[in-house]
């Protein structure tokens, strides 16, 4: 099972994501902003990163850019959790090096399907 880093400043969203993934047998690290996610990413390698875009301290876009600069995270899939109303932010994430995205709102099934999609 995969080791997944879940990044969102909203405790309820983070809780939902982590709970769903743990239920599917994954190991989940939670972080509440991009900076803390970077700290966690440096501490150990993860197989997948799921990150919100709008966060205080360091937003998702900046975090992706920083993550991609780390050797250990060059090819690791990073999915942005974004909302439909911000299509342009998707492309911004993409330009920063994100793998893809999952559009909010999503339900646990959609989350698991997307994780499966990227992890194979």
């Amino acid at each position: 099972m995969a080791k997944i880093l879940a990044v969102d400043d909203s405790a309820s969203m983070r809780g939902m994501v982590a709970f769903t993934l743990r239920g599917a047998g994954h190991e989940v690290t939670e972080a509440e902003n991009g900076q803390l996610a970077l700290d966690a990413a440096r501490a150990s390698r993860h197989d997948l990163v799921l990150a919100d875009v709008n966060m205080p301290v360091m937003d998702g876009i900046a975090m992706v850019r920083e993550l991609r600069a780390l050797d250990a995270y060059k090819g690791v899939p990073i999915l942005m959790l974004t909302t439909e109303s911000h299509t342009e932010r998707k492309m911004e994430g993409k330009a920063a090096g994100a793998t893809g995205w999952l559009v909010k709102p999503f339900d646990p099934e959609q989350l698991l399907a997307t994780v499966k999609r990227v992890l194979g």
Partner: protein, 661 residues
Amino acid sequence: MSAVDLTQFHKTFFEESLEGLDAMEAALLALGAGSTDSELVHTIFRAAHSIKGGAATFGFTDVAAFTHVAESLLEEVRSERRAVDAELVELLLRSVDALRAMLDRSGRGQPVADAESEALRAELVRLVSGEAAVAVVVAPKAAAVSGWDIGFVALPHLLQTGNDPLRVFRELQQLGRLEVVRAFIVDGAPSQLSALDPTQCYLGWDLRLHGATTRADIDAVFDWLDGDCELAIKPLAEAPAASAAVAAVANEPKPAAPVAPQAQQAIASSETSSIRVGIDKVDALINMMGELVITQSMLSEIGEKFEISQLERLRDGLAHLERTTRELQESVMRIRMLPIGSVFNRFPRLVHDLERKLDKRVKLELHGEGTELDKTVLEKIGDPLVHLVRNAIDHGLESPAQRKAAGKSETGTLKLNAYHEGGNIVVQISDDGAGLNHAAIVAKAQQRGLISVGQELSDAEVAELIFQPGFSTAAKATDLSGRGVGMDVVRRNVRDLGGGVGVRSVSGKGSIFTITLPLTLAIIDGLVTAVGSERYIVPLTSIVESLRLRAEAVRKIAGGGEVFHFRDEYLPIMRLHHAFGCVDAITDIESGIVVVVEEGGRRMGLLVDDLLGQQQAVVKSLEAHYRRVQGISGATILSDGSVALIVDVGGVVRLGRSKAA
């Protein structure tokens, strides 16, 4: 339906949403006050954005719909397509209120949107330019064909985005039969194996997908690869166009979050009060638990093969157990303590609203937000404070014109201050308004029959009248503070908490309302001092500085008192060993240390033996276990298990004055 029960996250969602709204409100007020800090706009946007995402995820569609419009408006502000003006701030503040009400109703399982929220939403929609265009998602008209030719050339950086061509093949295979017509290495790829960068991709494929797949399905497979590859997708020549419309409908995007009607009922039943605790307090608990476990294992080891020679170790262990248990108990109690800032934070908004309503100008100053109160006390002190603040602005502060005429600045100042004093927590609400109108109060009291005509009253007695049930001097009862249910209710509420409320007022200068709350359990930052073999803790907030005096700096005055010269004034010295009857203390002023303290504008030097360090102290009532001691506000237990008394600086200053007199 979902295998994961999402209702378990509802409470967290409500809590963080309410916090988000608080942050939004504070930022809006700052913007309204003329701040141009762009971080404020981001904070507001982020809060709305989070609430929208959470609401949609957890099935609160009305809340999601409302925040969606608000967010669109905020997006315009964020991208500087719309300027911030007072009207916009006002509208957004009303939106914050509406959202609070909607969340509240969601939590109680009631219908979420009401006429008010719908009207406000309509107002927001009108304001947002081109909203209709954003809301309608047009599904691309797709033609179903018997198959597709797909030219797929990876750009070199494709792998570096975490994407994988294999995933693409896997997903295409799920759509239909996939045939790889040709796989090739792109032009420009290094010809030498040694020059090949394994993180770069130099491959391309000509693929053919057989079956009635729509273009949208194929686009969905490649969606993440936008900008990471070159694509050429063409329908196979012999495409039958007839089934196009049907397929397009079948692939229309589904609404992503189904509404969960049963979810809203579930929350209503699980409404329990919760508390957010600082991680340091939890860490302290865990540390204490660790200590307890160590002590327990040590004791059980002694118990297994006990010999009388180990008695000393047993006693040590038991003493340690006792201390740790006590500390654990205190740590648990500390979890209930919350800073009063959470109550103070609602006042900027209240003041803002009152300014507009009453046409007054008010500058609000908050002090001592970090002062901790028991959660129960905190919850109940909010209403009395709101009352006092409303009163201060409604009755206390004058209109800008009146202030100007009185030679004051047009903007009145309202101060809220919380601090520890004399074993109590004091909350003061002071204004620089007109002060109590004695003549009006007396007239009213006579009219109400509270006092008889011609009765002579002192200032304090007059002030006391406003706390009488049913008393109100406002010319007309406004919807804010009037209605005659004012100060008596405040006093009753405060007394229910075991406290008291009083007022001091100077005509033309302003009023100070003081709420005193007992501190059954409060934390203070204190300086631990040694006096003989005793330890005394002096609250840090009262300390001006500590110094060592030379004997010639001290002067004896009539009546046996001592004073010393300190920054242009003579301060009395209080020898703590003398005041509290400690033996073995240093009596020679040159060898001891003088701690200069201040209380209510009066300073005094306290002579102690030595300063031992700074410590957070959990204040225990001395009265409850022993009796009241003048100059002592309570006791606490130091980390070595010994008891230290906490100096009541106000009391000591008074004690010193009475002794000197």
